[in-house]
Assembly symmetry: C2
Homo-oligomer: 436 residues x 2
C-alpha cells in the first residue's frame, strides 16, 4: 500500500486535532483513500508541551525548514496562522513541490493570489476548506458539486464568538460587555477578541467565499467591515419586538457593475433558517442560478470540526499525489487565469432597509421633526415603536424603513443628530428581509 | 481548448434542465473547468417534442446504442430512470470506457454493486450526486470533504412530495387524500404517486446515503419502509399539541452489531432544524466523529436543481478525463474492495420513543386497562392527552412513551386492540427527539 507523507507546521489546538484524527481514523482513511497517510514531522516552537498524543516515528522539531525541505513529504499542513512566518513557509513548501493545506483565512484573504500563482507554477495545489466555516463542507461544495452554477448571492454566519455573544444577548437580555467577559471565561472568545468582535475574521472568510462563488479577486481592504461592539441589549430587544434577530452577517452579492462585499450586524426575520443558527454554530447560504438556495450549517470552529476540514483537504491532495498531480480542481474553483477583478460597491451606495433608533426628549412634535428630515432624504417609514416609558430623561423612537440608499440614511442621521431634541447619536442597523 | 464530449440518455424534464444548464452556463463551465463541454448526442424515444431548446450540432436520436458506441463521447448522462433499459445502457457505456452520471436512485440502490464493479474494471467512474437530495451537495460532501470522518448517523427528508403533503396537512389541517389530490394538480405528486408516498423513493436514497457514510453494501429489501398514507390530520394535530412535527424520515445509524436503516413517518420536536424543512425542500443531517453534526438543505428535486447536481458530476468526470482518469475518488467514497456488508437490524429489535393513539369507548377505567397492558410490556408513559370531546361514539387517548422496544410495542398493541373498549386499530408513530 502506498504511503503518503505529511508534515505539520503548528502544533496548537487545531494541529493537535489533526494528529488525533490521523491516528484515530487511520482505518477509515485507508479504506477511502486506498493508501496510507503518515505524519512524518511536526514543527512548532514549543516541542515540550504534552499534547496527550503518542508520536511514534514522528519527528517533532522547532525547525520548520527541516520539514519544508524533507524530500519524503508530499503535503504540508500549515496551522500557524497569521501572515508571517506562515506566508514564507507556504511559499517555500510550494516551491519545493509540496501541496499545502491551510486553515489560515487571513493569509489566503490577503496573499491568496500570490500564493496560488506560485502553486500553479509548481503544479501543486493549496486547499483551504478549513479557513471558512470550520467543519462545514462549504468551499468543497462550491468548488466541486455546485461548480456549474453562476452564483448570485452568498451569505453567512462565520464567526462563532460573535454568534455566541449575540445569541446570549438575545436570550438573556445581557449587555455586550458582560457577555463578552463570560465568553472569554468559557473559552468562546480570545483574551484579545478584536479580530472576532470587530468583524475582521468574518471579512477574511467572506473574501474567500466571494472569490470562489464569483471568480473574482477581492481587495480585502475594500470589504466594508463593522463589528458587533455597538450593538446594545436594547436594540436586540427591539429587533425581537419586530420579529427579527440581530446576527453578524457576511454578505456577498452580484450587483450591476460589480459586487457587494460587506460584514455588519444585520437584522433578519425570525422565520429565516439563518435566524435559528445559534451559539457557536456557523451557517452559509448560497444562491446558484440552477441549484437555487442551498444552506449548510454545523460547527464553524473548534479542534475536531476544523481537523475534519483539514483532513478532507489532505485526502483530496493525497489522491492527487497518487494520481500524479494531473489536472487538479483549482483551489478557488476557477482556473486561476480566468479570475477577474470585479469592483466592490462602496457601502454608501448600497440600498437596504434600516432599523433606526433615536434617543429623544420626551415631548410632542419630536417625531414630526425626525420624519420631515427622513422625508427630505426619501426615506419612508414602514413601522415605528415609540414606547411610553422614560429612560433617564429621554425616550427611544424606533423605526423600520422601506428600502433606502445608505448615503441618504447617513446624511439624514447627520442632520437629525444635530437637532436639539436628540440626546444620543442615533443608531442604525441594516435589515435583510430575504437572504441568499 | 480541450473539448469534452457528452452524450445524454433521456430527454425528459431533468434532461431538458441539463441541456439548458450546459448551454446557459457554458462560460462559467469553461472558466472553472479550463475546457469546453460539448453535448454531442441525445437519445430519447421521443425525438419530436419541442423542448424549447436550440440544438445546433447535437444529434437527437431514438437509438441509444449510437450514443453508447460513439467513440468521441467520454461521458454518458443517464436520465431514463427505472431499472431497464437504464441498467443495460449504463453497463454498455462503462464497458465502452465511458464515465456515467446518473440520477437513478432505484438503479443504483439495487444494482449499484454490479455497476460499480464494471466501472472499476474499465477504469471509469459512475457519479450519482443527483440521485439523493436533488441539488443539495450532500453525496459530494461525504465523498470529498468529510471523508476522514467515521459517520455514526445520517438522517434526511428526501422526498419532496411527502414533505409537501405533510406540510400542507400540518398547516391547513387537511386530510391526506385531499392534499394528495391538490399536490397532483400542482405537479408536486405524480399521477401514480406510489413510490413517493409509500416511502420507496426515500428508501432508495437512504440506501445510497448509508453506503457512502458507513462503507457498506445495503440489501435494499432489508430497509424497513413505511409511507405516509396512514397519517391522519388528527395525528398531526396531536403532534402539534405535544410540540412535534411529523416528517417522513430516512434514518441510518451505526448500532451494536450492524446498522439501522429505516424509512417511516417520524415525530420530531419543533425546535430541531429538520422541523423547519417545509414544502418540497429536502434536508440531510450527518454526524461524523470529528466534524460533529452537519446539516445541508435546499431544493431536493425539480428540473434546475437536479440539473445542477448532474452537471457537478459531469464537471468532476470531465476533470478526470482531462487528467487521464488517474486515481479518481471512488463513487461511494470507499475503495470498492473495502466495502463491507453490515447487517441491518430488524425493525422489531429497534428501540424508540412512541406516539400511540387509541380510539376507545368513552367510559371510566379505559385508561387503566390500557396502561396495565403497556406496563406488562415494560412501556412507560411519558405524557398523555385524553380530550373531553366525543368523536362518533369513541374518543382518542393519546400517549407519548419513554424509550421502548418496538417488538414490545407491537405485542402490547396486538393485545390492546383485542379489548372490547378499543374501537379502531391503534395507531403509532415513532419519535426521534434528537437527530443526526
Amino acid at each position: 500500500m502506498q504511503d503518503i507523507k505529511v508534515g505539520l507546521l503548528g502544533f496548537g489546538t487545531i494541529g493537535t486535532g489533526v494528529v488525533k484524527m490521523l491516528q484515530h481514523n487511520a482505518k477509515v482513511i485507508e479504506q477511502r483513500l486506498g493508501a496510507r497517510l503518515t505524519l512524518s514531522a511536526i514543527a512548532d516552537l514549543d516541542t515540550t508541551t504534552d499534547r496527550g498524543l503518542v508520536l511514534d516515528g514522528v519527528v517533532l522539531t522547532s525547525d520548520a525548514n527541516s520539514v519544508l525541505t524533507n524530500p519524503d513529504i508530499d503535503i504540508i499542513i500549515e496551522l500557524i496562522g497569521g501572515y508571517e512566518p506562515a506566508r514564507t513557509f507556504v511559499k517555500k513548501a510550494l516551491e519545493n513541490g509540496k501541496h499545502v493545506v491551510t486553515a489560515n483565512k487571513a493569509l489566503m484573504a490577503v496573499h491568496g493570489k500570490e500564493l496560488l500563482e506560485i502553486a500553479k507554477k509548481n503544479n501543486v495545489n493549496i486547499l483551504l476548506d478549513a479557513a471558512v466555516g470550520g467543519g462545514i463542507p462549504v468551499l468543497a461544495a462550491i468548488r466541486e458539486n455546485l461548480c456549474a452554477n453562476n452564483f448570485s448571492d452568498v451569505c453567512g454566519i462565520l464567526n462563532g464568538t460573535c454568534n455566541y455573544i449575540l445569541t446570549r444577548m438575545t436570550e438573556d437580555g445581557d449587555d455586550f460587555a458582560a457577555v463578552l467577559k463570560d465568553a472569554q471565561a468559557l473559552g468562546y472568545a480570545e483574551s484579545d477578541p478584536t479580530f472576532d468582535i470587530e468583524g475582521v475574521d468574518t471579512a477574511h472568510k467572506l473574501s474567500l467565499l466571494i472569490s470562489m462563488c464569483f471568480g473574482t479577486w477581492v481587495d480585502f481592504d475594500q470589504i466594508y467591515t463593522e463589528g458587533i461592539t455597538q450593538i446594545s441589549a436594547m436594540d436586540i430587544q427591539y429587533a425581537r419586538k419586530f420579529g427579527y434577530q440581530i446576527k453578524l452577517l457576511a454578505i456577498g452579492k452580484i450587483v450591476a457593475g460589480g459586487i457587494e462585499a460587506r460584514v455588519h450586524p444585520t437584522m433578519i426575520p425570525d422565520n429565516l433558517p439563518m435566524a435559528d443558527v445559534k451559539g457557536v454554530l456557523n451557517a452559509v447560504s448560497l444562491v446558484g442560478d440552477f441549484v437555487g438556495p442551498v444552506m449548510l450549517n454545523g460547527r464553524g470552529a473548534g479542534m475536531d470540526a476544523t481537523a475534519s476540514a483539514v483532513m478532507g483537504d489532505v485526502m483530496s491532495l493525497a489522491r492527487a499525489v497518487i494520481g500524479g498531480n494531473k489536472n487538479m480542481t483549482p483551489s478557488l474553483g476557477y482556473q486561476i487565469d480566468q479570475m477577474t477583478t470585479l469592483p466592490i460597491r462602496n457601502i454608501a451606495d448600497i440600498s437596504s432597509h434600516y432599523y433606526i433608533r433615536f434617543m429623544v426628549e420626551d415631548r410632542p412634535k419630536v417625531l414630526a421633526q425626525i420624519s420631515t428630515i427622513l422625508g427630505e432624504f426619501e426615506i419612508s417609514i414602514r413601522s415605528m415603536i415609540q414606547p411610553e416609558w422614560q429612560l433617564g430623561g429621554c425616550v427611544p423612537i424606533v423605526i423600520m424603513t422601506h428600502g433606502a440608499c445608505e448615503s441618504n440614511v447617513r446624511q439624514s442621521l447627520d442632520k437629525i443628530n444635530k437637532l436639539s431634541i436628540i440626546k444620543e447619536k442615533s443608531m442604525f442597523v441594516r435589515i435583510e428581509n430575504e437572504l441568499a
